[in-house]
Amino acid sequence: DVKVTQSSRYLVKRTGEKVFLECVQDMDHENMFWYRQDPGLGLRLIYFSYDVKMKEKGDIPEGYSVSREKKERFSLILESASTNQTSMYLCASRRTGNGYTFGSGTRLTVV
């Protein structure tokens, strides 16, 4: 069964901490994505990567960075966590032209 695995289901971090959210896919997909989901705001794209070492900003990249050193892994980095980054974070991957496969999500709380 194909999978997108996010390293943590729940995470609690302190304001100002550097936070790493890891995402690994086993489907050899070219494209990978990070979204955040908030009540009333829906899913918003933070960053995406269409190939290894390539990255592009989504709609809300401020306060985030990403890394894609290997095809299967796409990391989201919160440089200095803030309370307004408390959210559900969803990673997805896909082969070009097909639908997304999502991970189970990481619910991040910044206190």
Partner: protein, 112 residues
């Protein structure tokens, strides 16, 4: 900004009934996708329908696409309690289809 809008926002039906939800969008697209999200989980891809297709089936799901009206519908037949979830339409944004824009979703509750 969100390209798609689902209607209704919420739907409550009895087990065995059909559920229909609609999605309208603003600009031309080359495909439209439907996803399901169970509470607190990631989204699951249901169906992708391309702009040259009018209807597509997958098990108890039927999706239609009317490009002239810029709208799509998702029909779930013979609903089950396990169909309780939020359903989202999504479509590519921009000149390529890397990025998807998701609607706000329809929350479906299936009562036993």
């Amino acid at each position: 900004s969100q390209q798609g809008e689902e209607d209704p926002q919420a739907l409550s039906i009895q087990e065995g009934e059909n559920a229909t939800m609609n999605c309208s969008y603003k600009t031309s697209i080359n495909n439209l996708q439907w996803y399901r999200q169970n509470s607190g989980r990631g989204l699951v891809h249901l169906i992708l329908i391309r702009s040259n297709e009018r209807e597509k089936h997958s098990g108890r799901l039927r999706v239609t696409l009317d490009t002239s009206k810029k709208s799509s519908s998702l029909l779930i037949t013979a609903s089950r309690a396990a169909d309780t979830a939020s359903y989202f339409c999504a479509m590519p944004v921009g000149s390529n289809d890397y990025k998807l824009s998701f609607g706000a979703g329809t929350t479906v509750t299936v009562r036993a």
